[in-house]
């Protein structure tokens, strides 16, 4: 058997092991999140991204169709609570489970204990309907 063929066989074997490990991880952690990002009370949960920097946390929040003039953000303990009305009522689809009309975004974001949530700053990117909340770390 040529050395090239042996190398190919080893590579194939390694890949099979990797695939099996990934399958096991898939079955343990679950690949898909079944949690819907809406609630029957007419609120939607926005997508968020939290990035930790040396001295602060930067929370980016996607708020499509939101009226950013109605944005309300409060910080308490180590939580940031956000509410923002939509520009107009929205229906997600004609599916029976989506008879709800949505009117606002609502989200509570839990941050680590060292987040100084009383002193946050907000940057609005109105043309994208995206906001950034910058929360400093406690000195």
């Amino acid at each position: 058997m040529s050395s090239r063929r042996i190398r190919d066989m080893i590579r194939e074997f390694e890949r099979e092991i990797e695939e099996t490990i990934e399958e096991i991880i898939d079955s343990i952690v679950g690949t898909y999140e079944a949690r819907p990002l809406w609630s029957k009370d007419g609120s939607l949960e926005p997508l968020i991204s939290v990035v930790e920097k040396e001295d602060k946390y930067v929370i980016t929040i996607d708020l499509p169709l939101a009226n950013l003039k109605t944005l309300s953000i409060t910080g308490k303990y180590n939580y940031i609570e956000l509410r923002c009305k939509l520009k107009h009522r929205v229906k997600l689809s004609e599916w029976p489970m989506s008879r709800t009309e949505f009117t606002e975004y609502r989200k509570i974001i839990k941050l680590p204990e060292n987040a100084d949530v009383a002193n946050f700053e907000v940057k609005k990117y109105v043309e994208y309907s995206i906001i950034e909340i910058i929360v400093p770390k406690k000195g």
Partner: protein
Amino acid sequence: MEEYNGFTLYETKEFKLEQPSYMLLGLPDTGLVASISSSYLVDSLKMDEVGGIDSYRYFPPIAVIHNGESKLPIRMFYKRNILVIISELPISPSATYPLAFMLVDYAQKKGITHIVSPVGLGVPHRMEVEKPATYGLATSKEGEQILSKVGIKGFQEGFIVGPYAVILKEAKRRKISNIVIFAEAFIDFPDPAAAVEVLTILTKIFSVEIDLKPLIEKAEEIRLKTRELMMNTKRVLERMKKGYEQQLPLMYVF
């Protein structure tokens, strides 16, 4: 019906692609750029649904219902010389290799001239980018000629992670043409504006005309309606170490 290592591919209608033919992939990725652009193309060109792909091994027990009909998680659409493959679910790390190999096998079997992969290129402060930049990469001379004809800059250095990376490597190994179109996109949010940039290039490559205005006008609505798919895609991409795409390969730092 064909079985491929845990996946089953069904052709529900017979079709014959005109040449040169293209297989456009709409697999969920950064900014859902591929998903949004390929779905919009299928809708605009009123493409015919000709089959799909399912897997009892890699997908949860899901049936997608559309227009009162049960559909497969991965669907195939066809018109003249274009075959579009769209996945309703993000591809999990364990499914990446078998699905990528199956798609390249299938492209080879159908005599596809070019596999076309639209890829979102995550940029950290996308909100400050007015118009997402686009780049191209091809595994064949013909593909390179197409990219230079449409006037797209070459993607010189970086990492690609996920099914598109496996398809690129496998296509190159088998000497199949793979054209990759990159568009700067939000890392964690759906990005219809990036999809518009990709579609501007795809329409030139495919020599088709579509109206992009409705996509631009409905961008915010699309972002709102694709949040769950984006959330699941992000979860899968994080496991595939998508963060590598933000780094520079070692051998190119000198």
